[in-house]
Symmetry: C3
Subunit: 154 residues, 3 copies
């Protein structure tokens, strides 16, 4: 039996946080046609950062991975709130992974993989995304990672 996205999420015993609300005059997601554009998702719980610092400076790569994973949970929570069910998502079109760094060369790919792997495990191999990864100078509130996601809605 092929599992649905929501069934895979339940089977993995992953509990999603409440969908994060905006920090200003914007919305968490906009649907246009069958594309759902999400706002930049951060490793926050509500409006509280779970991680602070730059990877390769205040934080190590493992902490960066944990930040990416936490931000990806917010991606799922916002998508479900907007669509009613993650089963409506027919494809993860784009995953942008933007990592705060500070002069070193931390393993950006490993951090991005932490988000990609969660999305692959939940949505399935046939829905994995194109991906864009780079290190930025600074992120809102001083968090280490921000995710940008575009979903295709079936």
């Amino acid at each position: 039996m092929v599992k649905s996205t929501e069934e895979r999420l339940a089977a993995a015993a992953i509990e999603l946080p409440p969908a994060v609300t905006p920090f200003g005059p914007y919305v968490a997601a906009v649907q246009t046609g069958n594309l759902l554009f999400l706002s930049g998702m951060l490793p926050t719980v509500g409006h509280e950062p779970k991680f602070l610092g730059r990877v390769g400076k205040e934080l190590n790569v493992e902490q960066g991975c944990s930040g990416a994973y936490a931000a990806a949970l917010n991606v799922l929570a916002v998508a479900r709130q907007n669509l009613g069910s993650l089963d409506r998502i027919s494809r993860v079109v784009k995953l942008g992974v933007y990592i705060a760094t500070a002069g070193g060369r931390p393993d950006l790919v490993k951090i991005a993989d932490a988000a990609s792997e969660l999305l692959r495990d939940i949505f399935g191999e046939d829905k994995i995304s194109a991906r864009l990864v780079f290190g930025v100078e600074n992120l809102p509130f001083g968090v280490p990672v921000e995710l940008e996601v575009i979903f295709e809605v079936g």
Copy 2:
């Protein structure tokens, strides 16, 4: 009476600058289907930067906000030139706010809000965008802020 976007712009007595022309072999905007993708908009008047420097270093947050506002005026000017009227825009889908920073932790959200608030005031609460914000190492010509916008055309 509900005002149209152009009526709100006129009521606010905001005069748009001439639409900025490209600095190289690209165009200011591309429409595909009902999405209008704008090139990165800078705080320039014509090809002259109105602000130079990085926020938290050569410029303060207030100057960053002014730069974001000036870039947002260019967004409106380019959109109107491409569509004939801003009233054809049915939604601001994505606003990306990319801010040149230099090691500090300036208030990125406040700077982004300066652009978001203008777009909200002109297009209305029901058309506000998803948003992506981060600090970059460097922007073209040394300006402090760049905006990326995708509009939905009705």
Copy 3:
């Protein structure tokens, strides 16, 4: 006689490298509707970086231009592999040029133009893109430039 994209590529005697395969759990490109989103393309041959370093620090602007050109060849190779022929592309919608910099103010526009010019020469003046350019703190594997492209498929 108007030449097709594939004919222009052949006439320019440009030979594309093999399409680069992903470095993790993502795909090189995703098509949704008539938009083809490419993953961030780097100046690599296979999985080997052709250029390493930041522009204005370890590399000069000319090397940055060469990196942008090399990454643009990977864009073409991946697009052709996904679509069968570059002639199916009706428009270059978005070109993002993200350049690793380190405190100086190298000529970002010149580097971006190296990618834009190749795309213009191959796809033609009527298909040129909107463009977004900025300097980032760090890129995967330490390469100097990354390209993000969205194509419209006819």
